[in-house]
C-alpha cells in the first residue's frame, strides 16, 4: 500500500459523511424554505419570504390545544413509566437478577406487534364495557407507556449495569442507610444519565406518534400529529411551518437535556 492511501481514504470518508448529512438535511431545508415563503410554485426559488404562516399557526387555538394535549399525553405516559419502571428495574437487578432474561423478552413485545394490529385489539378491549377508554387521553397514556417501555428499560438497564448496583447498595446499607435511603441517595442520582437518555428518546418518539393517536382517539382528543394529518388539505406553507415548529421544539428539548446532563467537574 502506498502512503497516499490513508489520506485518500480520509477524504473519501469525509465525502460520504457530508453527502449523508446533505441527504438528510435537504428535505428539512426545503421544508424550512417553503414554510417561510409567500408562494413557491412555478418558479425555481420562492417569490418572497414571510413569517405569516408561523404567525397563523401559533395563533390557531386548535394547534395550541393539540400541542398542549400532545405534551400532556407524552409527559403523562413518561411519568407513569418512570414511576413503574424504576422500581421494577431496581427489584429485578437487585433481588432477582435472573428475571432480566424474561424482562428482555417482555419489553420487546410492544415492538413485535405492529401498532395497527395492536390498536385493533385495544379498540376491542377498551371500546366498551367496564374499561371503556377509547377516545379519551387515558388510553393513549396507557398505550404510550407500553411503547416507551423498551426505550426506558434498555437505557436504564445499561446504566444500572455500569454502576455495580449490588456493591453500592451493600456499601450504603453497611454505612447505616435503609434500603430507601440507599436507593434515593446513592442509586437514583447515578441513574440520572440513563434516565435522561431514556426520557428523551421516548419523548421524541411519542411526540411524533401518529397511528395509535389517530386510531384510538382521533379528533376527540387531537394530538399534534393527528392535527397535522387533519390539516393536510390546507396550505402546504402552513403545514411546513407546523413541521418545522415541531422539529425545532424537539431540537431545543434535546439540546436542553444534553446541557442538563453534562458532567459536573
Amino acid at each position: 500500500m502506498s502512503r497516499a492511501e490513508p489520506a485518500r481514504s480520509a477524504v473519501y470518508h469525509r465525502l460520504v459523511v457530508w453527502a449523508l448529512f446533505l441527504v438528510l438535511l435537504l428535505p428539512l431545508a426545503g421544508t424550512l424554505l417553503y414554510s417561510i415563503s409567500t408562494s413557491w410554485s412555478a418558479s425555481l426559488l420562492p417569490s418572497g419570504l414571510t413569517f405569516k404562516w408561523y404567525l397563523a399557526l401559533w395563533s390557531d387555538p386548535r394547534f395550541l390545544t393539540a400541542f398542549a394535549q400532545s405534551l400532556l399525553v407524552c409527559v403523562g405516559a413518561l411519568v407513569l413509566s418512570v414511576l413503574l419502571i424504576l422500581p421494577l428495574l431496581f427489584v429485578v437487578h437487585y433481588h432477582f437478577p435472573r428475571l432480566d432474561g424474561l424482562m428482555n423478552i417482555l419489553i420487546l413485545l410492544p415492538f413485535a406487534v405492529p401498532p395497527v394490529v395492536s390498536s385493533v385489539g385495544l379498540l376491542q378491549l377498551y371500546g366498551s364495557g367496564p374499561m371503556a377508554m377509547v377516545g379519551t387521553p387515558w388510553i393513549l397514556i396507557g398505550c404510550y407507556f407500553t411503547v416507551a417501555l423498551p426505550f426506558m428499560y434498555r437505557a436504564i438497564t445499561n446504566n444500572l449495569q455500569a454502576i455495580n448496583l449490588r456493591d453500592l447498595m451493600d456499601a450504603a446499607q453497611l454505612l447505616g442507610a435503609s434500603t430507601w435511603q440507599a436507593a434515593f441517595l446513592v442509586v437514583l442520582p447515578n441513574l440520572r444519565k440513563g434516565l435522561m437518555v431514556a426520557l428523551l428518546l421516548s419523548f421524541s418518539f411519542l411526540f411524533g406518534e401518529f397511528v395509535f393517536a389517530n386510531l384510538l382517539v382521533g379528533t376527540r382528543y387531537e394530538t399534534l400529529q393527528v392535527y397535522l394529518n387533519n390539516m393536510r388539505n390546507s396550505s402546504g406553507h402552513f403545514n411546513s411551518a407546523l413541521v418545522i415548529s415541531y422539529f425545532l421544539f424537539v431540537l431545543v428539548l434535546t439540546w436542553a437535556a444534553n446541557r442538563l446532563n453534562k458532567d459536573k467537574t
Binding site: 454502576i163 455495580n164 456493591d167 453500592l168 451493600d170 456499601a171 450504603a172 446499607q173 453497611l174 454505612l175 447505616g176 442507610a177 435503609s178 435511603q181 441517595l185 446513592v186 442520582p189 447515578n190 440520572r192 459536573k264 467537574t265
Partner: protein, 329 residues
C-alpha cells in the same frame, strides 16, 4: 473470651452447601485472613458476617451479642469491597461522611472526623474530588476511610487489593496493616493470594469447598500443611504421589509427599543425580525444573551471582533436607 465467635455457621445455596460447620474465634484487635481459591465460600462467609447474605443456621457472636438476627445497618461492621463501591455522585468527602450522615452526627463533628479519616489514608488534599478523578489505589483508600470513620467494631475486607496493580497493592497492603494496628481494629480479610495472607495476617484460615482446611499463623501454614490441598495452595510445594516419592528417595513411602522447593539444594557432586530441564528467574530466586529418577521437581535457589547459574541440560546433584519432607494425606 474471644471478641468474635463464629459457631456452627451453615449456608446452602440452590440445594448445595456453600459452607457448613464453620467454627472459629477471633481475639480483639486480631487480623485474620480467610484464604482460599475462588468459589471456596470465603466471600459468602464474609457477606454472612456483614449481614448482606442470610445464613441458614449458626451464630455470629460479636462482643457477646448474636449478629444473625440483626440487619446490616445495626451490626456496626465496616466493609471494603473489591470494586471500591464508592458513590460516584458524591465527592471524596461526601463519600466518607455518608456513614456519619446516616447516623445523624452533627456537621461540625462530622467534618473533623472526615478530615481525620482522610488524613489517615493520606488523602486529605483530595476531599473535593469525585471518585472518577482518582486512581484505583486512591479509590480504595477512600473506601477504607469511609468504612473507618464510623468506628466499626469489626472491619471486613473483601479482596480489597485484587483490582490494583502490583506496586500499589504492596503499598496499600502495608498501609492497611499499619492503620489496623494503630486503631487496634479487629479485621477479617478475604483473599485468594497466599502472599497477601502470609504477610498480613496474625492468623490464616485456609478454606476449600466450604470448610476450613487448616488454621494457624503464617509460619505454621507455610511449613506444616495438613493435606495435599494445603500444600498445593500455599508455597510452591512439590507434591509427589507415593510411587514417585518411593522412587526418588529409594525407600518405600506409603502416602503423598510434599517437598518445599527451597528445601532442595543443587550441587555438582553428590548422591542423587539429576538434570536441569529449565529455569526461570524470579528476581532474588532462580526456580529450576530438575528431573531426577524420572521425577520432575521445582527447586528454588537464591540468586547470588550469574556465575552460579546452571544452564539448561546441566547434570547436577540434588540433596534434600530430610526434615523438610512432609507426608500429606
Amino acid at each position: 473470651m474471644s471478641f468474635v465467635s463464629i459457631q456452627n455457621l451453615e449456608k446452602t445455596y440452590a440445594g448445595s452447601p456453600v459452607f457448613k460447620n464453620i467454627n472459629f474465634d477471633i481475639a480483639r484487635g486480631e487480623f485474620i485472613t480467610l484464604l482460599g481459591p475462588s468459589g471456596c465460600g470465603k466471600s459468602t462467609l464474609l457477606r454472612c458476617i456483614a449481614g448482606l447474605t442470610p445464613v441458614d443456621s449458626g451464630r455470629i457472636l460479636l462482643d457477646g451479642t448474636d449478629l444473625v438476627p440483626l440487619s446490616p445497618q445495626k451490626r456496626g461492621i465496616g466493609m471494603v469491597f473489591q470494586s471500591y463501591a464508592l458513590f460516584p455522585n458524591m465527592t471524596v468527602a461526601q463519600n466518607v461522611a455518608f456513614g456519619l450522615r446516616m447516623q445523624k452526627v452533627a456537621s461540625q463533628d462530622s467534618r473533623s472526623r472526615v478530615e481525620e479519616a482522610l488524613r489517615m489514608v493520606e488523602l486529605q488534599d483530595f476531599a473535593a474530588r469525585y471518585p472518577h478523578q482518582l486512581s484505583g489505589g486512591q479509590c480504595q483508600r477512600v473506601a477504607l476511610a469511609r468504612s473507618l470513620v464510623t468506628r466499626p467494631r469489626l472491619l471486613l475486607l473483601d479482596e480489597p487489593l485484587s483490582a490494583l496493580d502490583a506496586r500499589i497493592r504492596k503499598h496499600l497492603r502495608e498501609q492497611i496493616r499499619s492503620i489496623q494496628r494503630e486503631l487496634g481494629l479487629t479485621t477479617v480479610f478475604v483473599t485468594h493470594d497466599q502472599e497477601e495472607a502470609l504477610t498480613l495476617s496474625d492468623r490464616i484460615f485456609l478454606m476449600n469447598q466450604g470448610r476450613i482446611v487448616q488454621s494457624g499463623d503464617a509460619e505454621t501454614l507455610y511449613t506444616a500443611p495438613v493435606d495435599a490441598f494445603a500444600a498445593g495452595f500455599i508455597g510452591n510445594y512439590n507434591l509427589l504421589d507415593a510411587e514417585s516419592a518411593s522412587r526418588l528417595l529409594e525407600r518405600p513411602v506409603s502416602c503423598r509427599l510434599a517437598i518445599r522447593p527451597e528445601a532442595i539444594a543443587l550441587s555438582l557432586d553428590g548422591a542423587l543425580d539429576g538434570q536441569v530441564r529449565s529455569h526461570s528467574l524470579l528476581g532474588n530466586i532462580i526456580r529450576y525444573r530438575v528431573e531426577a529418577r524420572g521425577v520432575e521437581l521445582s527447586v528454588d535457589v537464591l540468586n547470588r551471582s550469574s556465575a552460579d547459574l546452571y544452564p539448561d541440560g546441566q547434570r547436577v546433584s540434588l540433596s534434600i533436607d530430610p526434615t523438610a519432607l512432609r507426608e500429606v494425606a
